[in-house]
């Protein structure tokens, strides 16, 4: 046993002593990143001093740690992809990467991780990019504290900030993504955690899931995107404590759910969106303790949504609380607070004695003839809404909250 420890420590120490630093700077013998990688042995550390390095197609094919000092600029001069990682255990830290080439046949990225494990990409600043960080067929990595600022205008000629493709168990934390197509995009990627990111001003979505299961995203802020978050064709996604703000426009949502099953949506805030949540073909989702305030539509249900539960949510001053386009309802609304509730509470237990009907006749009319939105809050509309409330004809008659709270719910 003792000899084993000695042997182990000897191996460990020799390993440490082999690992050495290679410095890259403009006046050093090694003046480019490419040369440094060619010279390096496995587990070496390459330190890049500040300066501008005009390089592209840099292939990191050994387990290396690349650290930038004072943010050296790696300028791709719009010629193509800049850094490609094809080895396991690579760390890239503190680089300023600009001018990624644009192509319509290949997805050039500022930094691409290909078929590797245990990568760490942190403290990067990416500007003038096509794709930012592209992770394909890799696993067990971390993308931490990067700043990605694109200049996307149109969807067809721009790329995504952080893209995962067939990559499992990746952590994406504390990133700041702006002005790209999709801030963060996951396709066929399971068991990922997306935490504390800010995704704003993106052309399409702040965060986008496609065919990705068992992922968690929490404490993120999605602001001013084409649409905040789109979750499509995925299962078991957990969404906690995110903020969806100011996603304005004709087809703009805070959160878009399409073909989503068994998800948890808890503690999120939806504020000033045209549509808070747009739901289509999504089943068995629990909506709990979310706050919807000042949205055009808090929740728009488009059909084929069954056994969803909405409990303990706050609906505050939305133009419409819930919109349905059919008469059938299989979803449950219970113990929510509705600021539009006008009932009373005689036995003082904090629960209104009259059930609340969140779907108004006017939302049905607007659904049919969108121009009528101009009559919003007119007295005539209030009158017809009232008569519909008394005897529902056009709206689902079993859709009501039997225990509406009298006071805003606090947690």
């Amino acid at each position: 046993m003792k000899t084993f420890f000695i042997v182990m420590s000897v191996i460990f120490m020799t390993k440490l002593s082999i690992a050495q630093n290679i410095t890259v700077c403009k006046t050093c013998p090694i003046s480019t990143l490419k040369k440094a990688i060619a010279h390096a042995k496995d587990f070496d550390t390459i330190v890049v001093k500040s300066g501008t390095y005009k390089e592209f197609d840099v292939n990191v094919n050994k387990p290396l740690t690349i650290i930038g000092e004072n943010y050296p600029v790696i300028d791709g001069e719009l010629k193509g992809e800049i850094i490609t990682i094809t080895s396991d255990n690579v760390t890239v830290d503190g680089l300023f990467i600009i001018n990624v080439g644009t192509s319509y046949t290949e997805d050039y990225a500022a930094i691409r991780v290909k078929n590797s494990k245990n990568f760490l990409i942190q403290n990067l600043v990416l500007e003038k990019l096509f794709f930012g960080i592209y992770i394909e067929k890799s696993r067990d990595g971390k993308v931490f504290h990067n700043k990605i600022i694109g200049d996307a205008v149109e969807e067809y000629n721009s790329g995504n900030g952080i893209q995962l493709w067939y990559s499992n168990n990746v952590k994406i934390e504390h990133n700041f993504v702006q002005h790209v197509r999709d801030g963060i995009y996951l396709e066929f990627s399971d068991d990922c955690v997306i935490k504390n990111n800010v995704s704003a001003l993106n052309v399409r979505y702040g965060l986008h899931f496609m065919f990705s299961n068992d992922d968690i995203y929490q404490d993120n802020i999605f602001e001013n995107n084409g649409a905040g978050v789109a979750v499509m064709f995925s299962k078991h996604i957990e969404m906690y404590n995110n903020i969806f703000k100011e996603n304005w426009g004709t087809a703009s949502y805070g959160l878009l759910l399409k073909e989503i099953n068994d998800a948890e949506i808890e503690g999120n805030t939806f504020e000033n969106n045209t549509i808070g949540i747009n739901i289509e073909g999504s089943n068995r989702i629990n909506y709990k303790q979310n706050t919807f305030s000042n949205n055009g539509w808090a929740i728009k249900v488009k059909g084929a949504c069954y056994t969803n539960k909405f409990t303990q949510n706050n609906f505050l001053y939305n133009s419409f609380d819930i919109a349905y386009n059919s008469k059938v309802n299989d979803n449950e609304f219970d113990k929510n607070y509705w600021s539009n509730y006008t009932g009373y509470d005689l036995n003082k237990d904090g629960i209104g004695d009259v059930p609340y009907r969140p779907v108004k006749l006017f939302s049905y009319i607007v659904n049919r003839t969108p121009e009528t939105i101009i009559l919003l809050r007119s007295m005539f509309i209030d009158i017809i809404d009232f008569s519909e409330k008394v005897s529902p004809v056009f709206t689902p008659d079993d859709l009501m909250d039997n225990n509406p709270q009298m006071k805003k719910i606090t947690w």
């Binding site: 055009g296 133009s319 007295m379």
Partner: protein
């Protein structure tokens, strides 16, 4: 008589403002309730008050007409007297509680000033319309009837007809029609103006270039204000015109 009623009016708004603020404890909800008050009650009070004032002071007006005074200045003076005192009651009555509540530190100040501005416009418009009705009708009962009917039409019936038209012609592009329809009714116009502040996120949900331009830019605000001014100027011009020709 004018001063007594405007005190009552003032007291009513003061009470309303206080009740709204101190029972609700939430400024944004108070602003929504206030909007309902302003687009329904302000026109009603303006209309009734204008008609009432005209008929009550008819004898005094006839006495004044015997004096060497210009007709337009007599009637415009009466109109402005009523309309401005009503507006003052509205602005002070609602303004004071909100100022004491701490409006200046709150972000709702612009919404609130917009509410007061549209309220003032509505008072000016509906008092002018009421004077027009009273000038054209010698019969007091008839005049009152028409005035109430006018209010009912613009506040409720117009929207009903408007909605029916929109639903009936839903297969056609309607965004221009709906905007023009709004322009033709001062109550709808004021409502839209306030909606621009309150429900902008819902209004932007509709796919239409004309809507988008109207609601998405300051274009809508400017056009609405111009239309409101037109709505004040036209009835006032008719007061001047009518009063010059009328036999007493």
């Amino acid at each position: 008589m004018r001063s007594r009623w405007s005190y009552v009016y003032f007291a009513f708004y003061l009470l309303l403002g206080i009740v709204l603020l101190f029972l609700n404890n939430d400024l944004s909800k108070a602003v929504i309730t206030l909007m309902n008050v302003i687009i329904v009650l302000v026109p009603l009070i303006g209309t009734i008050f204008g008609v009432m004032y005209y008929y009550n002071s008819k004898e005094f007006t006839e006495l004044l007409l015997a004096q060497p005074l210009k007709r337009s200045s007599i009637f415009l003076g009466q109109y402005l007297g009523v309309a401005l005192s009503l507006s003052m009651s509205l602005i002070l009555g609602l303004g004071l509680p909100f100022v004491f509540y701490g409006l200046f530190e709150s972000s709702a100040i612009w919404d609130f000033s917009l509410l007061l501005i549209t309220g003032t416009f509505l008072t000016l418009i509906f008092t002018a319309l009421a004077f027009n009705i009273a000038l054209s009708n010698e019969n007091k009962i008839k005049g009152f009837g028409y005035a109430i009917l006018l209010w009912l039409f613009l506040a409720v019936i117009y929207d009903g007809l408007f909605l029916m038209t929109l639903i009936m012609f839903e297969d056609y592009p309607l965004d221009k029609v709906s905007l023009i329809g709004t322009m033709l009714n001062p109550i709808d116009l004021s409502r839209t103006l306030i909606l621009l502040k309150l429900d902008i996120s819902a209004l932007l949900g509709y796919t239409g270039a004309v809507f988008k331009q109207f609601f998405g830019t300051s274009f809508g605000l400017i056009i609405s204000f111009i239309m409101l001014t037109v709505w004040v100027v036209l009835p006032v011009l008719r007061i001047i015109f009518k009063s010059k020709k009328k036999d007493f």
